[in-house]
Amino acid sequence: MSDVKKPSNPWWKFPLWLLLGVGFGAVLTSAQVISVVRVRRMFAFEEPHMFLVIGAAVATGVISMLLVKALRKSKTDLSGEAMEFKDRPMQPGIIVGGLLFGVGWYFTAACPGPIYALIGTGTWTAFAILGGALVGTFLFGAVKKYLPA
């Protein structure tokens, strides 16, 4: 077995990603963070629910990842593939893009995950948001070379 090269992404990862998505979407929906009610109350600082969900998620993520990095020196996943830490360098888009997304998040009441979860709940208005997001993504691709990077 030692000379067998590991295939990239064994088949079982694909249904697993779907399943992980189901879990992620179910929590987003149950926690109501996909709701215009919660999002509007958050951005008006009327209720702490959204901030607490986000804060608790970040705190859990930070602590659990510190543990993972300390205990799993190989930095590989179960199939032996390297864990992929996406590199997101500091650049003007972090601030400009971040602010633009924040404005869009308020007016749509949906960040990207909730757009999909909303469609799943049968909230057909979310197709307008998804359509806009795809147009916005295309526009970014079209003007990317003119933007400071």
């Binding site: 998505g21 608790a56 859990t60 893009g97 795809l134 916005g136």
Partner: protein, 165 residues
């Protein structure tokens, strides 16, 4: 809008569950949770002849995992809404159903797509995954998300009579 507002899954359960997806996904599948790149994969798939470098890559090879993940998120919404008693809160407002309301959603969607791609991530990629891996740009981006939304809320309420449901 006859859906009453009931209590959500409490933050002290929902937050930790969402945060645990970072180590869970990395350990099981090698990927960190992220959603907004799926818009790029969709554009690359729908417009193979756009001629734009940003969409010139093997979207199926690079993005299949993420496409499955977001389809899963969609099904997660379906599961809760139709099999587990519903979200328990209105998911849209009457004002969203007018032509002007839909235009606002579409325009806001453009900002979501453009902004997340320029910032290179959204609330999952930057705020949950990025900060969990101690990335400073992700902290800055997340602060900007909140600032942008707060500014929009302020302008909407005080200049355009926007309301809080």
């Amino acid at each position: 809008m006859d859906v009453p507002i009931t209590d959500p899954l409490p933050w002290y359960i929902a937050g930790p569950l969402l945060g645990l997806f970072v180590p869970l996904m990395l350990l099981l599948t090698g990927k960190e949770p992220g959603v907004s790149s799926s818009f790029r994969h969709a554009c690359a798939a729908l417009l193979p002849k756009s001629g734009l470098d940003y969409f010139k890559y093997d979207w199926l090879k690079t993005g299949l995992w993420q496409i499955l993940f977001v389809v899963g998120i969609l099904l997660g919404g379906t599961l809760v809404q139709f099999a587990l008693g519903g979200a328990g809160v209105p998911l849209f407002l009457p004002e969203n159903l007018t032509a002007a309301g839909l235009a606002v959603l579409f325009g806001g969607g453009i900002l979501v797509g453009f902004g997340t791609r320029y910032a290179d991530g959204c609330t999952s990629g930057h705020t949950i995954s990025g900060i969990s891996n101690l990335s400073l740009p992700s902290v800055v981006a997340s602060i900007c998300f909140i600032l942008g939304g707060t500014a929009a809320s302020f302008v909407h309420r005080f200049a355009f009579g926007g309301t809080i449901p």
